[in-house]
Symmetry: C2
Amino acid sequence: MDPRRLLIFRTVARAGSISAGARELGWTQPAVSQHLQALEREVGSALLVRGSGGVTLTEPGRALLAHADAVASRLQVAAAELADLAQLRAGTVRLAAFPSGAAVRVPPALERLRRIYPGVVVHLTEAEPPEALDAVRAGDVDVALVFGYDDDVAADTDLVLVPAGGDRSMLVLPREHQLATRRRPSLRALRSAEWIAGCERCRAHLLRSCAAAGFEPDVRHESDDYVVVQNLVAHGLGVSLLPRTALDAFQHPEVHVTAVEGVSPRQLYLAHRPGADAVPAVAAVLSQLVAFGTPSAARRAHSSGTPA
Amino acid sequence: MDPRRLLIFRTVARAGSISAGARELGWTQPAVSQHLQALEREVGSALLVRGSGGVTLTEPGRALLAHADAVASRLQVAAAELADLAQLRAGTVRLAAFPSGAAVRVPPALERLRRIYPGVVVHLTEAEPPEALDAVRAGDVDVALVFGYDDDVAADTDLVLVPAGGDRSMLVLPREHQLATRRRPSLRALRSAEWIAGCERCRAHLLRSCAAAGFEPDVRHESDDYVVVQNLVAHGLGVSLLPRTALDAFQHPEVHVTAVEGVSPRQLYLAHRPGADAVPAVAAVLSQLVAFGTPSAARRAHSSGTPA
DNA sequence: CACAGGCCATAAGCCAGGCTTTGACCCTGA
DNA sequence: TCAGGGTCAAAGCCTGGCTTATGGCCTGTG
């Protein structure tokens, strides 16, 4: 049964005549008449009795009208719900982010998003980039905030990656380290230092950078927790590289942070499945996160306090 | 929102890919793809994410699928109910009939109808022809079994009248009336008798017939109840004309019934609104009542007893 | 590594469903 | 009797929407 004809029938039944129904539909009377004939043929019974002055329902017509009303009302509810989703009065987005990103980049973006679109809710999950990307691929998460070194993420993926700013790797030294007074030491100056490495990919980046500087670092400790790393440094147990973002989230008072020569910054990306950004709520989350993509913007938002 | 596209979307969502959905619909893949794009444009959001190996629903897609399922199931229910009505597994018909017709013509027709189509229920109401026709016009009744004399009903009406047999007017005499031995007396032979008239229109018919025979009858009593009339006759209080059908319903043992010259038969009709016979249940009732339209057929059915 | 086979989108072309136009009829009310 | 409402039927045209053809992308396999 063609649902369009069902709705045409409903319009006519409620309008009281084929002509009135046609006017309501913006069509001519014969067009509607033909549809009704087709519907009656299809259904195998007269649905309405044509009399002068309009039309009266038969028993099958009355039965069908009830169903038509139900269908029409459901269509209306569907349209309303979809309009809410399209116009960002509703919707939920599942977001994954690595820890320091979740601490520094995400909150101001979500705050602003909530102010503009109070109906959109975002579920934030903390996950390291590899797991976050897998979750996006599996459809468990809509958007992932990830980072990569030297394009190791950007290459060869079925996901869309939109750049969300760079994240400089900073040298973290004990406060009284001999290099703490140098404005911008070179990596090579630390060739004989004891090192504390981060996560697996951060460690790989450290090794690459040191290799480029001509030495292999003496890695004594490993932790992907930037608080742990800084405490180790503060106690003089080694030096480390930490991204700017992690230091924005937390900086130990007893460590010295400085830029360093010869270390490429890590790159932040927002990952989503191709086409997923055509969902308005997802697009809104992406755009807010990109707007806070530069560290300076993130700091600016952070220091500005809570807006009205 | 075009409901056809909603159903197409549902098929695709359940099939898991656009191609599979297209196969299910018997269409080519681009046709379905175009519909989905149109739907997404209309709705203002992506509904599904196209990936290799199929398609995944977005949040708006999941919301819409629920509504689409509801619409589809309601359509299915509607189709099933309409099919029942069309194939006479269900349906109710409101029937009006004048008293003797209701007594003699209707029961065998309904018995047969119930045997063939047990799901079809008929509501019988007793009503004299004028009221019955009004009820049909008003839509309170679907079919009316009526009678008319000399085409007084057939002329000038907006209803369809299908002839349902004639109904001879018989002369009803007291058993020992002097004319009771005559095989086919003429009306004129009763010019000085005392008369008992029936309903308004029967009385008019009596007056017309007598006028044609050259006299005005001496009407002493009036009743449209054929039992009352026959009791009056049996007690010698007058003579009367009664239709064959009424006498089939009840014949007083103390009266004599004979054909009479110069009186036209009354005509039975089934009345319905034009087009109403395109409702299968109505058509079935009509055809059963027409099948028992001739008095002989009615008597035959009556004497045959209850079939298995 | 190439290639087949699944998925998808786009572009172009063409057919027919379905709309409009036109004309006729019927009924009602002025 | 005519104007105005309702209906159906026939014919013609237009465009929505289908098909065909092509190409891109990803996966799995020889």
